[in-house]
Amino acid sequence: MKHNLNSTQRSWFNINDPRVRSVIYQILIILGVIWAVMTIAGNVVANLEARGIATGFRFLGERAGFGVSQALIEYSSNSTYGRVFFVGLLNTLLVSAMGIVAATFLGLFVGLGRLTPNWLVRKICMVYIEIFRNIPVLLQIFFWYYVVLQTLPRPNQSIALLGDLVFINVRGAYAPRPILESGIGILTTMLILAVVAVIALTIWARRRKRDTGEEFPVLWTSLGILVGTMTVGYIATGQPLVFEIPELRGFSFDGGMRLRPELLALWLALTIYTSTFIAEIIRSGIQSVSHGQTEACRALSLSERQRMKLVVLPQALRVIVPPLTSQYLNLTKNSSLAVAIGYPDLVSVFQGTALNQTGQAIEIVGMTMAVYLLISLLVSAFMNWFNKRVALVER
């Protein structure tokens, strides 16, 4: 009996059992980590209090009292620091999203350009990649901002394009802004209906091709449907869309849409820098698909476009997507270099101005780091999901 008890005890608590030991070690390490974090936090709070430095997140509800040049949401100097945070965050997301889209397209073209049989195009793409990949992105931001955009003429000598509709000067680029008037509801409904029709057409065409093998000119028909309905609708509803033309008034242009030089410089630099890496990723991804596949396509007399679209790209994507994710993350993180040219991103307005006005370094730097971490994790999560989707195509 005694012997039995001993043996059961040994079976789930035996210090000589490696599994039991590893559990004990893990519990000890977790406790140690918790203790370390608590002690550090306690010390920080105690030290800050002893030095008379304000702590806590109350400042987020206080009036900020400074201006921000570009805000996607309502903002004035009477807004709170909490609002400054969101203004900065949205500006970061804006330039990152613009950069990611543009860099992907540019990278795709340059990457494909490096693979064309045309000698000139191939060499131009290679030189482009080698130049812009090897110059630090901060220098490129400075180049676009100080060398290109800051040397544009002043507002009263603006460059006018498209017959005085678009203006470019040192304060940015101005274009007419669409203003929606009554009747736009009908036009929007018509647009939605047209889009639904196009989607239905695409599904029908795909099904027909699967069943009968006959091609249907989907692209041209869709374009026709969209342009046709929009033109008819625009005239029938009494032209509900007018444009506000930018005008030189007072110190600068007033009205219209405006792209500030800070955003433009940052966007250009990030796009061009990241596109070179994306181009290389796409080129290597395509070259990773074995040449035998290409030969097989030719044997089946598939066209060059079909070969790319149906055979090579689906397989190449598996190689392309993971490193592409890192490039998207890099671009987002590089956007914090905005502070160098005064683009009001999160680092500039929140970790810069707001930190300096409140002095609450730990809270503000912590929040800013948490945001970048969160953005990165979200982008990776999305790209992992996408990667899984393209990976399924593998046969």
Binding site: A46, A50, A54, F66, F251, T358, G359
Partner: protein, 338 residues
């Protein structure tokens, strides 16, 4: 295993480092034999490096006066150049012993940053610099203007307050350093450059065409600029405070670097307290008894410091104005040395 124990012990030591372990700044400075002083990253008249690489300026001299008082040598200063955004963190974290960086004394800064302002070495106010060809003669005509401003300054707040109070709109164009604001102003990115008027005078002479720009008459704020120290070290606070007070008192009683040796024999009790020949005020502050003599002989009184760096004979051409002694119609006033 021994290595592991050492690592664990050092981590434990780091974690248990408590608030009580703040050493006295005076002891640190004396044992290091150098004063670490945070200054601006290049502002003519206040803190810049001259052609020989030496730091000069009003803020620099304020640091030197403290070094002369504490270490007996005005050159034992290590200058740390800080941007507006970096300055308070550098002081809070102990990277510098004192901050002398044209910093405006405000309630928020005094009460929430864990720092104390020790006095005012320059009374300033915020103004606007504008191109003359725009035809603007008053700040009230600036509705809709783009304004270049250095980020992380009280200037940024005053600017928003002023336009709000006037019911006008503006576009802030923020840059990290004052050099960048000048570049933006010259390129035409903004119509107006705003800063403290003393800085505007300094920045204006950096323009390629100083005659083409003018400072508007409006002064929109009070900007008492002065040195600051960390909270919680009253002895050090007193030393930095009285180094500046002594310079102002010295001007008041006519003690300057040229006559300070003669003044050692002076019969005037006020003067002998300043130069340290009577009343051992130095030991009350924890300093040598000749601390006042060292400041005056090596750095000079307030008037000398002003004339040398920003006065009418310098490129900045600033008048004493508000910064004249209280006996001369200004507001520069220091408690008595006694």
């Amino acid at each position: 295993m021994k290595k592991l124990a050492t690592v664990a012990a050092s981590i434990a030591a780091a974690l248990t480092f408590s608030a009580a372990a703040q050493a006295a700044t005076l002891d640190d400075v004396q044992s290091r034999d150098t004063l670490r002083c945070g200054v601006s990253d290049g502002l003519p008249g206040f803190s810049v490096t001259d052609s020989d690489g030496n730091w000069v300026g009003l803020d620099v001299d304020t640091c030197k006066a403290v070094a002369a008082a504490v270490l007996g040598d005005a050159d034992k200063v290590e200058f740390v150049s800080l941007t507006a955004v970096e300055r308070f963190t550098a002081l809070q974290s102990g990277e510098v012993d004192m901050l002398s960086r044209n910093t405006t004394w405000t309630t928020t800064r005094d009460a929430s940053l864990g720092i104390n302002f020790t006095g005012t070495n320059y009374y300033d106010g915020q103004g606007f610099l504008i191109n003359t060809d725009l035809g603007v003669t008053s700040a009230t005509e600036l509705d809709g203007a783009a304004v270049c401003v250095a980020s992380g300054t009280t200037t940024e707040l005053n600017l928003a307050d002023y336009f709000e109070a006037q019911g006008m709109s503006f576009e802030p164009v923020l840059y990290d350093t004052s050099d960048q604001t000048v570049a933006g102003f010259e390129a035409g990115r903004c119509d107006v450059l705003t800063s403290d008027t003393s800085q505007l005078a300094a920045l204006r002479i950096q323009l390629s065409d100083p005659e083409g720009a003018m400072i508007l008459p409006e002064i929109i704020s009070k900007e008492p600029l002065g040195p600051a120290v960390r909270q919680g070290d009253d002895q050090w606070f007193n030393i930095v405070k009285w180094a500046l007070f002594l310079q102002v008192n010295a001007e008041e009683y006519g003690v300057s670097s040229s006559n300070v040796d003669d003044m050692l024999e002076s019969d005037d009790p006020n003067v002998s307290r300043i130069v340290g020949t009577s009343g051992d005020l130095g030991s009350l502050l924890g300093l040598p008894s000749d601390w006042g003599y060292q400041i005056i002989s090596q750095v000079g009184n307030y008037a000398e410091m002003f004339e040398r760096n920003v006065g009418p004979d310098t490129p900045l051409e600033l008048e004493r104005g508000t910064n004249a002694l209280w006996t001369d119609g200004g507001i520069m006033y220091a408690p008595p040395v006694r």
